[in-house]
């Protein structure tokens, strides 16, 4: 793609508030985790040396609460990050950057350069024989590469491969993650 590509406008987007929120949450949960460990260790030590008493029991309750807090905090961060990523994906598509989305998926699936190229041609609707001709490879090579692409993407057909991107276009999960 050339520099004149209008979609380059989207490249300098700033991280924005939700991403800051996720970072802040992560820092808070980290502090909470430290507190949780202090209490758990303290309760364990008290219990080992002094046995169970009201004081230890009280501390144990706090320890459990802190641990639960960390778990829910982590889940909340996960939700926030998912939301950010969905929004980013939707925005990229809205700005006509489907290519970027496809590239991100190829990246995530860990496709090799050759596989990515074959996959792209397949998405564009080229038949195996045509892809082989374009790439100067044999049809069987292309078929093997396509099979690898499907396996890495967790799909079984070209239609399903396409639907992965369509899914993002519609902003909803049709196939489970």
């Amino acid at each position: 793609m050339t520099e004149a590509d209008p979609r380059s406008n989207t490249h300098n987007r700033k991280p924005g508030a939700p991403s800051r929120r996720a970072g802040l949450l992560a820092a808070l949960v980290a502090v909470q985790a430290v507190c949780a460990v202090f209490f758990v260790v303290d309760v364990t030590a008290d219990f080992t040396w002094d046995g169970a008493d009201v004081h230890t029991a009280f501390e144990a309750v706090i320890a459990v609460a802190l641990v639960l807090g960390v778990i829910f905090g982590a889940l909340e961060i996960r939700r926030t990050l998912d939301r950010i990523r969905r929004a980013e994906t939707a925005l990229s598509i809205a700005s006509g950057a489907l290519a970027e989305v496809i590239e991100a998926y190829f990246d995530r699936w860990g496709l090799t350069a050759a596989e990515a190229n074959v996959a792209l041609l397949a998405i564009k609707g080229f038949e195996v024989a045509e892809i082989a001709g374009l790439r100067g490879a044999s049809a069987s090579t292309v078929r093997v590469q396509l099979a690898k692409v499907y396996a890495k993407a967790g799909v079984t057909s070209r239609t399903q491969l396409l639907s992965v991107f369509i899914e993002d276009l519609m902003g909803e999960d049709l196939i489970g993650k």
Partner: protein
Amino acid sequence: MSQPSDTLSGPVIPPSKGVNWDPVVRVTHWVVALSVVLNGLIVEEESQLHNWIGYAVLAMLALRVLWGIVGTEEARFSSFPPSLLKAKAYAQGMLHGEHPAQRSHNPIGSLMVYAMWGSLAVVIGTGIGMEVFDIYEMEDIHEVAANLVLVLAAAHVCGVVLESRLSGVNLIRNMTIRTRSRGPE
């Protein structure tokens, strides 16, 4: 790398820019790294501070384990299972200048990460054994494992720098600066 894309007016696939690590991975990483340096090289071993720093590392490891189960896709353990075979294949690819895009730690990095976590767990376990349960026989194991962590960490940093150079993916930036723009620089 022949790219027929030019003739098809399709996008040329740019080289991978690597995994943009999430804030939980970053926070836990840098707290662990700082604490290991402090406890292993700087802080007085018998001080209370040494124990507190050690507990902070335990907290980060626990959080990271939780995150490895419920976290983002790239942070999950299932995204970087330890595999000697894959590591060997990856090393051979490296010799041929291949750097396939990664969705998480690369297979060699993955082995290193588990090795560091494992030895850190031993260091912390024996530390707590001494401090909380008065089992001072553990001191030697504690020391050996702590030195192992330091050696692994040094190798880890060399590996990260080397891989960044070879693959052209700035791994360190992906672990430090908050969010990278998605497009080409």
